[in-house]
């Protein structure tokens, strides 16, 4: 059984077609990178996976179950970090982390929570209104990593983090991989993708145009790096 299985996903908003043909299969224990320029449909695809958007056509399955119909059951097994983290100004970071963890329905693991708070150097006693973008992102990251899930979905999770914390994030993802968890990572940071991803899906204008390992992609599209491959997709 696949962790993620998307077949012929189409999503329209009125007349506008956001996704015209998305296919993706992610296996257990795999780290899948999801690349594409702004507006190509990465976030829309992820929202269909999370069941916050309903697919117009096609199948979207997680762990063999329908992402829209069985959303609640499925969400017990996944953790998600959005690209743009907005929090409640009058709650503290620690309160929000506990809230997210407790709403998962399983017990909070205090040791794990403390570990990630320290790794990401987050002061949980501050009100969210005082957090910078990077700190708000840390709140979401700690809440995700402190959860014991089978699938972790990250939507441009490190856009506000410094290189040191970026490194921490990568190590945390590698640890998940070592534990046999699946990860879907949407990112613009090529070095991050090169280091972490088993396979890479590239989306363009609502359609998946390439899906392979890093080596194969570079071999198929003459170039030196992933960045060359990525740019070729859109410039050529």
């Amino acid at each position: 059984m696949h962790t993620i299985e998307i077949n012929g996903l189409v999503k329209r908003f009125g007349k506008f077609t956001a996704l015209s043909n998305v296919n993706m299969t992610v296996n257990p224990g795999e780290v899948r990178a999801f690349l594409g320029p702004n507006g190509a449909g990465k976030t829309t695809t992820i929202r269909c996976l999370l069941g916050t958007l309903k697919a117009t056509e096609g199948n979207v399955k997680l762990f063999g179950q329908d992402a829209w119909k069985d959303a609640v059951e499925l969400h017990k097994r996944l953790a998600y970090v959005p690209g743009d983290v907005n929090l409640w100004p009058n709650l503290t970071g620690g309160e929000v982390i506990d809230l997210f963890l407790s709403l998962r329905g399983s017990k909070i693991d205090p040791a794990r929570r403390t570990k990630y708070l320290e790794l990401f150097q987050l002061d949980p006693a501050k009100k969210c209104r005082t957090y910078s973008k990077g700190n708000r992102q840390k709140v979401a990251l700690v809440a995700a990593f402190a959860a014991n899930a089978d699938l972790y979905i990250f939507d441009e999770p490190t856009s506000g983090l410094d290189p040191l914390l970026e490194k921490v994030f990568q190590d945390c993802v590698l640890k998940l991989k070592a534990d046999g968890k699946s990860v879907l990572l949407s990112s613009h940071i090529m070095s991050e993708v090169e280091r972490l991803a088993d396979k890479i899906s590239i989306i363009r204008a609502g359609e998946i145009v390439a899906c392979d390992t890093l080596e194969n992609l570079i071999a198929a599209h003459p170039g030196k790096s992933l960045e060359d491959v990525f740019l070729k997709q859109y410039e050529g």
Binding site: R47, H75, N86
Partner: protein, 529 residues
């Protein structure tokens, strides 16, 4: 999970809810003694109630009932229930939109929805919390009123009176819940709910005052609370009807919520212009754009208020109300009742016009607080120009609002007070220097200590109290003395008093000084990053 979500809402609302609870239930109880003191013997009260029984009054405050058996409790209910219904409606609309569409629009809902909670959880939790807040208000108010030593108070009456309010609140919570599904922005949802409330108010006003029988009032939830005839017949049917309608609306809202995408509404977000109009491209144009909506809203509101009171000027028996006469007496020697009333109204409306002016000036701090001015000041925009732009808007508001109000009053009075349009406008505009002092105070606070901005509201509250409530509650000499602590107390009350330049010039000077010092501070202090 529902329970946990409710706990989140309670945590976020811990202070807000308390303020609303104490505010509404507290005033329901706190107003009561006022009514038992204001009105004397049953005969006097019957006379007052009879004079309240005019279309204009009924359109404003609601229907009159049980004239032959009138009591203080009934007068209280007839004169204040509608006011509280408006307050509780606003509370519920803000509450529900804050926890549904606003959270969704700001992207907070997205993370929550990635957790194993159902599509309806947030909606249900919001509804449950809102209902429970309304019930709390009902219970506190009912218990408080039950034990009020006042004629006409009965246990059943206290509960029906309070429950009518609570049920109306629950209706507006359900309405807002529906609007939050229909519109894709928090602003759209709030506006939709508020517009519906205004329409229902109008329906009620027409139904109560101008239509035979009360069938039209029964069609409006703004009219139903008063149809309970609290402290008289204590009818339960209106409460049942309100709750039933609320249940239907909530069911539709839940159905819509279950089927729709996150972030989407039935009405899509409007598209704007792709290019900025040249008007927007200066600090002044920017300030106007930020305040355009509130300008239009307040202009309509103040014109309508003026017109509403203007209508009542033509009604002679209107002035036989004791309370009015008490207030008018504080104005000294008055040539005729209607003119005295105009003077009092213009003062009240002058006070009210301060609110949009203060909002206009404080907006510059609002923009700063949300880090939006940062990117403007990073460009070649002098700070004083930005502040001056918002001040200019404030001055514009301060002239347009009282003038429109006076115009509305003039047009609707149809010559009843024997005053020319010029006299109305001059009377309205004579409060300008006092309004400007408040404007200057806001500039001063934003310039030097924006976090102390509440002081301006406190000064406004005190001004309102001394100039309006103070006249009712204090002996005349005390009232006249305490008024002098506020800028408004120094303004000659046209058309009754003689026009006097000196206080106007002095107040304008104070306003200019406050503004200048504020501008200096604004150039010197750190911009919040």
């Amino acid at each position: 999970m529902l329970f946990r979500y409710i706990r989140l809402i309670i945590k976020r609302e811990r202070i807000n809810s308390l303020v609303w609870l104490l505010g509404i239930a507290g005033l329901m109880i706190g107003f009561a003694p006022l009514f038992s003191n204001l009105f004397g013997t049953p005969q006097e009260m019957a006379a007052i109630a009879a004079t309240m029984n005019t279309p204009a009054m009924i359109a404003m405050v609601g229907p009159v009932y049980g004239l032959h058996a009138i009591s203080s409790a009934m007068v209280m209910s007839q004169m204040s229930l509608l006011l509280f219904v408006i307050a509780i409606a606003c509370m519920n609309i803000f509450f529900v939109v804050r926890h549904t569409r606003a959270d969704e629009e700001l992207g907070r809902m997205e993370v929550l929805r990635s957790l194993p909670i159902g599509r309806l959880t947030s909606t249900l939790a919001t509804l449950t919390s809102a209902v429970s807040l309304n019930i709390k208000i009902t219970v506190v108010s009912a218990i408080g009123l039950m034990f009020m030593p006042m004629d006409g108070i009965t246990v059943a009456g206290a509960w029906v009176y309070s429950a009518a309010l609570g049920a109306a609140g629950i209706f507006f919570a359900a309405l807002a819940l529906l609007m939050a599904q229909v519109f894709s922005t928090a602003r759209g949802a709030t506006t939709g709910a508020m517009a519906t409330m205004s329409a229902l108010f109008l329906l009620r006003a027409v139904g109560d005052a101008y239509v035979d029988g009360n069938w039209l009032s029964w069609l409006s939830v703004m009219g139903l609370p008063m149809q309970t005839y609290a402290f008289y017949q204590n009818r339960l049917l209106p409460i049942v009807v309100m709750l039933a309608v609320a249940a239907v609306l909530a069911a539709i809202a839940l159905l819509l919520c279950k089927r729709r995408d996150l972030g989407e509404g039935l009405v899509p977000a409007r598209k704007g212009a792709g290019e900025a109009s040249p008007l927007l491209l200066s600090p002044l144009g920017f300030a106007w754009r930020m305040l355009r909506g509130s300008f239009i809203g307040w202009a309509i509101a103040l014109f309508s208020f003026g017109a509403m009171y203007g209508v009542s000027l033509g009604m002679d028996d209107f002035f036989e109300i004791d309370m009015l006469q008490d207030m008018l007496a504080t104005m000294g020697d008055i040539p005729n009742m209607a003119q005295g009333f105009v003077g009092m109204l213009l003062m009240m409306m002058g006070l009210l016009s301060v609110v949009p002016v203060m909002i206009a000036v404080k907006r510059v701090w609002g923009e700063e607080k949300h880090h939006r001015l940062e990117s403007l000041y990073a460009r070649a925009v002098p700070r004083w120009k930005m502040m001056a732009a918002f001040m200019t808007m404030g001055v514009l508001f301060s002239i347009v609002m009282p003038a429109l109000n006076a115009l509305g009053m003039y047009l609707a009075s149809q010559g009843a007070a024997n005053l020319s349009l010029g006299q109305f406008i001059l009377g309205g505009l004579s409060y300008l220097p006092a309004i400007w002092v408040m404007l200057g105070l806001c500039v001063l606070l934003v310039g030097w200590a924006p976090k102390l901005g509440w002081i301006a509201w406190a000064v406004f509250g005190i001004s309102f109290f001394f100039n309006y409530m103070g006249r009712l509650m204090f002996p005349q000499d005390v009232a006249e003395f305490t008024q002098r602590f506020t800028p408004f107390g120094w303004i000659p009350q046209l058309p009754v008093d003689d026009f006097a330049w000196l206080p106007l010039i002095v107040l304008t000077g104070i306003a200019a000084a406050l503004s200048t010092v504020g501008l200096i501070g604004y150039r010197r202090r750190d911009i919040k990053l």
